[in-house]
């Protein structure tokens, strides 16, 4: 039974919807479908991206210091004539400092380690190598690290399928192989392999661990060894390092601290956002595509709501005229039809959230073997509340928008014209 003025609005709205069960059901279904896809798609994309971020971005340093050998400095001749109206032709000019060595690398490292905002820093020097076992050869690189520091930064321990990271220190010539390299070589724990550097240095090494990061490319090319072995392979002295990786206490300070370090030490310092700019931009495109799909689905379901309300209004012209003649204001009529749209949005939204959740659960439980940029055995789906909240808000906003125009049309109906035309 009717109660109060708002009650009247709801009563009329629900009676309208109830009298058109089929269309109402289809409109609700449209919103349900849109929201379910929204929840599922966002969950899938967000899940995949956060997995990827965890794997790549967390395995890159917050700040990375290295000698930027690739940037060309202008030659002395070019500098001399920079402002003059003289044409300078130079051929066979090489202006690069070819040596990527960080001079005083270990002193810089020590100094950085004492910085109050730094939680850890690790020296790095890598060498291109050929891994060889009997007749099988695999090309890759050996990352020469101080494994205790490296493990503290990037949690190498958690990626090991067999073995222990401490082996790199305790076993001379120990090596940790990426799991794909190990598979290709047919190498197992404690096997001996040969490593050959571009300079022709050959080292016999013992596999003391196999790592699986989940990133296909890394697992197929990277091995870890003690930094001294990398230096030996490249015939460098014990002070020779090319990179310092730094983890910060607060990741958001990376940009500023990178600039500080660059000024202080005279080497290029890159923060993680710059280092992963290409990945982050792929995410942006990916998100855009996803949201375009979702928006187009909601636009379609919005048109469904628009349609059913328009039909309702044409059918209920006389009702609207009579309601106005007995003193309902235009705003009251607007509320009635807007309420109808909101009911469709509300029910469709809630059911859509539930359907999307179960769809995510279902798809997330299917074992799928993916070997792409990342390798996983099932889809990573995010159930972040922010997805569900934004989906619900989106359902309400889009249905309100779709309902507003028909509702306004209804509120503008002139009862005289309706009554006269009968």
């Amino acid at each position: 039974m009717i109660m109060g003025k708002t009650g009247l609005t709801w009563k009329i709205a629900s009676t309208h919807l109830w009298s058109k069960k089929r269309q109402t059901f289809l409109s609700v279904l449209g919103v349900t479908f849109g929201i379910a896809v929204y929840v599922f798609q966002s969950g899938l994309i967000t899940g995949l991206q956060s997995f990827f971020i965890e794997k790549t971005i967390n395995s890159t340093a917050n700040v990375h210091i290295y000698s930027d050998v690739l940037s060309k400095k202008p030659s002395i001749v070019e500098r001399k004539f920079a402002n003059a109206s003289t044409m300078v032709f130079l051929s066979q000019h090489s202006s690069r400092t070819d040596d990527p060595k960080l001079k005083n690398g270990f002193q810089i490292l020590k100094s950085i380690e004492t910085h109050p905002e730094v939680s850890g820093a690790s020296p790095y020097f890598s060498s291109q190598v050929i891994f060889k076992k009997s007749n099988i050869q695999v090309a890759g690189y050996l990352a020469g690290v101080d494994i205790d520091k490296e493990d503290k930064l990037f949690d190498i321990t958690s990626t090991l399928t067999v073995g222990q990271v401490s082996g790199l220190k305790s076993v001379s010539n120990g090596v940790i192989l990426g799991n794909t390299i190990a598979e290709n070589l047919g190498a197992e724990l404690n096997d001996r392999i040969t490593v050959i550097s571009p300079l022709g240095v050959v080292l016999e090494m013992k596999v003391i661990g196999i790592s699986k990061s989940g990133l296909t490319k890394i697992d197929a090319t990277r091995g870890f060894c003690d930094i001294r072995n990398a230096q030996k392979l490249m015939r460098k002295d014990g002070n020779y390092i090319t990179d310092i990786n730094i983890k910060l206490k607060n990741i958001d300070r990376a940009e500023q601290l990178a600039l500080d370090f660059q000024d202080q030490y005279g080497y290029k310092a890159e923060d993680w956002k710059v280092a992963n700019a290409s990945t982050l931009s792929i995410f942006k495109v990916q998100n855009m595509v996803t949201y375009m799909v979702i928006v187009s689905i909601l636009v379609v379901s919005g048109f469904g709501i628009f349609n059913i309300l328009m039909m309702m209004i044409y059918e209920k012209m006389s009702d609207i005229a009579i309601l106005k003649s007995i003193g309902l204001r235009s705003r009251d009529i607007l509320s009635i039809f807007l309420a109808e749209a909101m009911v469709i949005g509300l029910i469709g939204g809630v059911v859509g959230l539930i359907a999307g959740y179960f769809l995510s659960r279902l798809v997330g439980s299917i074992p799928i073997k993916i070997e792409g940029i990342v390798s996983v055995d099932h889809l990573m789906i995010s159930y972040s509340p922010s997805i569900y909240i934004s989906a619900f808000v989106f359902a309400l906003v889009s249905t309100a928008a779709a309902g507003y125009f028909p509702a306004r049309k209804a509120s503008k109906i002139d009862p005289v014209i309706i009554i006269r035309s009968k």
Partner: protein, 225 residues
């Protein structure tokens, strides 16, 4: 005699398809408690006059005041409130809300007015339905009733807020002669029992003859009043 409605120099123009004056400089006074019939041939402007009187049409030239309130200056919302409080409507096509019960239909204007409690509104609605002899239909869906019954319910709805004026646009136009007589009798009784002012647009000769006063309209002008 206390004047309830005063029209001064009301002109209503239509511009489509060509400009013409549906009402041409009409001045008119209707007193409290009068039973007035507006008659005239089709297209004479009698319905147009009623829509202006009912405040549904607010676009015209001239001065209109009703129950001491000047209508010209009011906003659409104020007009809606005024209608809700002061004017009860009965149309040719009964215009009940088909999905609602008879009782609900009668209660809607009072709920819109939002002055009385729900229980009081229901009690009043049942009393009025009883007065009009359709109390036994109260819980039925409105579209299950016969034409004559529906028109009585429409009159009950028009009465629920105890309006100063009841207006009817061909209220018997869609009824057979027996039901027409009934409706006429009901409206006349209202006048005698509660001193209700009634203004009816009609073709119906019987109806016109039974009224206190006939206003004949022709070509947008008052021919006789």
């Amino acid at each position: 005699m206390e004047p309830l409605i005063e029209l001064q120099n009301i002109t209503k123009k239509f511009t489509e398809p060509v400009e013409f004056r549906a009402l041409d400089n009409i001045s008119l006074t209707i007193n409290k408690g009068e039973f007035v019939c507006i008659t005239g041939p089709s297209g004479s402007g009698k319905s147009t006059l009623l829509y202006i009187l009912s405040t549904l049409d607010s676009i015209y030239e001239g001065e209109y005041s009703c129950a001491g309130t000047r209508m010209n200056g009011l906003t659409q919302n104020q007009l809606a409130d005024f209608r809700n409080e002061n004017i009860g409507f009965v149309f040719q096509f009964h215009y009940l809300l088909p999905e609602f019960t008879v009782l609900e239909n009668v209660m809607i204007p009072a709920i819109r007015r939002n002055v009385e409690t729900k229980d009081n509104i229901r009690k009043n609605a049942l009393e009025i339905l009883d007065l009009l002899g359709v109390a036994d239909q109260a819980e039925k869906s409105a579209n299950k009733l016969s034409g004559g019954q529906q028109q009585r319910v429409a009159i009950a709805r028009a009465l629920i807020n105890k309006p100063k004026i009841i207006m009817g646009d061909e209220p018997t136009g869609n009824l057979d002669s027996v039901n027409s007589k009934n409706v006429l009798q009901i409206l006349k009784n209202l006048r005698t029992t509660i001193g209700q002012t009634v203004i009816i647009v009609t073709h119906d000769e019987h109806f016109a003859l039974a009224s206190d006063r006939q206003i004949k309209i022709k070509d947008g002008k008052i021919e006789q009043s």
